[in-house]
């Protein structure tokens, strides 16, 4: 984050793209996150639940967005981070995470910026929509 001038509404400060989500990535995330829900790694289970294939953990996608966020904002400034999981993220998705300053706010007596965040796939479909509050 630039220190040369204060943040202003509309500033696009978060932007990061990620490689396609592979089955291997889902297996690694299962182990690394402690989320052992078989729907993300076991094709038989996913099909029995009515899905055509396994799909990404919402929290894997949120972790990508979090990484894009803390690439742009020093972690000690992060006050809150929230997302809505808008749509299932399919295998092979190439995610792009973006965020801009939506509003300057006072939060617990501290000057903060509220960032509007999105994660989209390669077709531009929104997977996550969220917000973060960061101290100025």
């Amino acid at each position: 984050m630039s220190e040369t001038r204060p943040l202003a509404v509309g500033d696009r400060i978060v932007h990061k793209s990620f490689p396609p989500i592979s089955r291997h990535k889902l297996a690694l995330y299962c182990g690394a996150s402690g989320d052992h829900n078989p729907i993300h790694i076991d094709l038989d289970f996913a099909k029995a639940a009515g899905y055509p294939d396994v799909f990404a953990h919402g929290m894997l996608v949120m972790a990508c967005l979090g990484q894009a966020l803390t690439d742009a904002v020093p972690p000690p400034r992060l006050r809150s981070f929230a997302t809505r999981f808008v749509a299932i993220t399919q295998l092979g998705a190439r995610l792009t995470c973006e965020g801009h300053v939506a509003e300057l706010v006072e939060h617990n007596g501290e000057r903060c910026a509220k960032l509007a965040l999105t994660t989209k796939d390669e077709n531009g479909d929104i997977k996550l929509s969220g917000e973060a509050v960061i101290a100025m």
Binding site: F18, G34, G58, F81
Partner: protein
């Protein structure tokens, strides 16, 4: 059907220790190369006493060290195959770092039917404190239960 009387129910508290090896596995899985999460000197320069955790890792810790990771599903009466993650929120109040031992205290904060009962939203709120009794974070997850409705 989801048991609406579960609102207010406290789930079993979880104690999780932040181990460097498990955290490294998470960073490597995500391709996390930010120096603040990887180098002690960068963490210290950012004001941390030890390596901090990435912003979503609290969710992982709570699941990793729970005796029953999907206890809330049993409590509300839903099945793993019929749920999706709807929303997730973290509020950060104090640093969380390698070496910390965290206590997670989850409770069922709300259960709401939507779309004429086709789906139910269940909210689990979790207070997180560290080994010094400092309230370090709050987490809230909304789980979407896709109900089997009669055709």
């Amino acid at each position: 059907m989801v048991d609406h009387s579960a609102v207010g129910r406290r789930l079993t508290p979880v104690t999780a220790h932040i181990e460097p090896g498990r955290l490294r596995f998470f960073r490597e899985t995500l391709g996390e190369t930010n120096p603040v999460y990887n180098e002690a000197s960068a963490a210290q320069a950012a004001g941390y006493a030890a390596t901090p955790v990435p912003p979503t890792y609290l969710f992982c810790l709570e699941m990793m060290d729970a005796e029953q990771a999907f206890e809330f599903l049993d409590v509300i009466g839903a099945d793993l195959a019929q749920v999706l993650h709807g929303e997730q929120r973290f509020t950060y109040l104090a640093p969380v770092m390698v070496g910390d031992t965290l206590r997670f205290e989850p409770r069922i904060a709300g259960i709401t039917d939507k779309k004429g009962g086709a789906m139910t939203l269940a909210v689990v709120e979790t207070k997180v404190t560290n080994q010094h009794g400092v309230h370090v974070a709050d987490c809230a997850r909304t789980v979407v239960v896709l109900n089997k409705v009669a055709a």
